[in-house]
Symmetry: C2
Subunit: 345 residues, 2 copies
């Protein structure tokens, strides 16, 4: 680590302002403003002179001052729990694309499921540093905080709706249809007894998946509550195996990571997939198609969820309105791979 001698360059000097340009060009700040914005006609010679000074001084309008006077920043926030989770990374990509399309910037609000951190980021909307927020906290959010904010500030809920929260703009995947597709698939293969590894009870999405599955499967379903982590899938399946026999021919995990854990536990017990038992996940993260055997799973339109939520939000934000209640349910898709097969006889 070296520090070169940079003289004055090591300290940022005051950048040229519109006044500096005006003075150097011998015109008023108003004229400079209009030369740059084109909002009113300017004498061509004057304009040329101004432009030349702009170049010479390297003048760039301070967007901060512009925002202050305009009353909006053209920046919104994206609140998610964990950007290193591929689901949220895809969602973020969709959100960023939508924001960029409309000339908005996107502040990454990564909360790590930490309430204080979430509060700090929600403060950005209260202090009007951001024009709106795409909210995808990934955990059962405190309804109260949100209720106080929605209606006053533009907020869109992505991925996970908040139970009992009315009047929100919502974009989610069709979780129930996903569960249903899995149920139908396993039923058609001939399965009649399944173990379902769910996510935390409080998540609406998880409940929807479970409901859809149970309805469509029409067989015996044992539910076990996990936490969406790989270890939890492993623990739950290993636990069942130790208790005695697994007593089912298929495992449906509410997300891919838990399915991975289940696969490992089954392998460790000397069971083959899908020979002895079928396994299905949910999410279709990148690794799902790469593992052995490739995992049958439900593809979630994470990118579309982020993109839709953001595009909808901005449609209202750009007009200075609080978005109305609306719901956008995005289609999911069953990816049948090699981890499912008819049950052994």
């Amino acid at each position: 680590m070296t520090r070169e001698h940079l003289g004055d360059r090591s300290v940022v000097r005051r950048p040229a302002s519109i006044k500096d340009v005006a003075a150097a060009a011998g015109v008023s700040p108003t004229t400079v403003s209009h030369v740059l914005s084109g909002n009113r006609p300017v004498n061509e010679d004057t304009a040329a002179r101004v432009r030349s000074v702009v170049n010479r001084l390297g003048y760039v309008p301070a967007s901060l001052a512009r925002s202050l006077q305009a009353g909006s920043t053209s920046v919104i926030g994206l609140l998610i729990p964990d950007i290193s989770n591929t689901f949220f990374a895809e969602l973020a990509k969709g959100a960023e694309d939508a924001a960029h399309d409309l000339g908005y910037g996107l502040i990454l609000c990564n909360t790590e499921f930490d309430a204080d951190r979430e509060d700090r980021y929600l403060g950005m909307i209260r202090s009007r540093f951001i024009d709106g927020m795409v909210y995808a906290s990934g955990s059962p959010p405190s309804r109260r905080r949100l209720e106080a904010l929605m209606g006053k500030f533009p907020i869109a809920l992505a991925d996970e709706e908040v139970d009992g929260l009315q009047g929100a703009l919502i974009a989610t995947a069709d979780h129930e249809a996903g569960g249903r597709l899995v149920g139908e698939h396993l039923r058609e293969l001939g399965h009649r007894r399944a173990l379902m590894l769910t996510g935390p009870r409080a998540l609406k999405s998880g409940a929807d998946r479970a409901n859809g599955f149970v309805k469509a499967f029409k067989g015996k379903v044992v539910e076990r509550v996990g936490d969406f982590k790989e270890a939890s899938g492993h623990r739950l399946v290993a636990g069942r195996l130790e208790e005695g026999r697994l007593d089912c021919t298929a495992v449906f995990a509410a997300n891919d990571l838990m399915a991975f854990g289940a696969l490992t536990a089954l392998r460790e017990a000397g069971l083959s997939v899908p020979g002895d038992i079928s396994v299905v996940g949910f999410d279709d993260i990148r690794a799902a198609s790469l593992i052995h055997p490739p995992l049958t799973t439900v593809h979630q339109p994470a990118y579309d969820v982020g993109r839709t939520a953001t595009a909808q939000l901005l449609q209202y934000v750009s007009r200075g309105e609080v978005p109305p209640a609306s719901r956008h349910t995005l289609p999911v898709e069953l990816k049948v791979r090699a981890s499912t097969a008819p049950p052994a006889r």
Copy 2:
């Protein structure tokens, strides 16, 4: 999609300003400011009265105005090519953590390798909407644009250094050491002929990996240039297989995705890994340990790269300085898994 009747609530009304509070509390804006900041003593009764009005009106200081007067926004940018790439997602997480620790916000500048998009984001620093930029474009960046910016604005280079760019603050993984570790590992296993799949020529990181590898391996190395995508790894290996024999006992791909492609090509050709041929990757993305066989690869400290670059940048930004030239090389680690073994005799 329904639109409820929300009356006046559908349009955001003007939020309370410090003047409103001052008027309602019968004091000057100055006093309100000081009650809230604690920057000077205020009579307890007056303060209580002000606080009560603040609550009643729901006043929150406009951070925009604060920023204008302070001359900085406490927001920086993170410029990356693709947030859905787990490497950059991890890097982003590290950057966000570091920014959050120092009370800074982080704008996600996802460029998709698009020069125009990159330009637009770099404009944010010129217009001083952001106080600095962590630059990890993932592709050979146009030195010129950057040179013009650095020295005038706070920029830190992360992951990829820019060839010939002087005086920059840089944080990267130790790519050369990574290549060396792979070379030593394969050599110790007894391999003497290897195929190396490199990334695009222009990337310094790729060259470093190749150099380290060739030096330490000391055997015969055939190099083929790929583009860091899975398809490219598949194509290069399949091509060699078609041309005749592969003529090597090990494949070293410059990133995991290309290694995945290589694995698929080998499997399709009926070759076993590591029985017939060993495969090594680089990056240690999540899927690397999940695929079959688990991939021997070099773990990149993506999180630390993002965190270090950001923390270093902010150390100077917070003092209103342009960061000096400095280099932070972060250690990598060889993860030996099941895709490597001694060569078949």
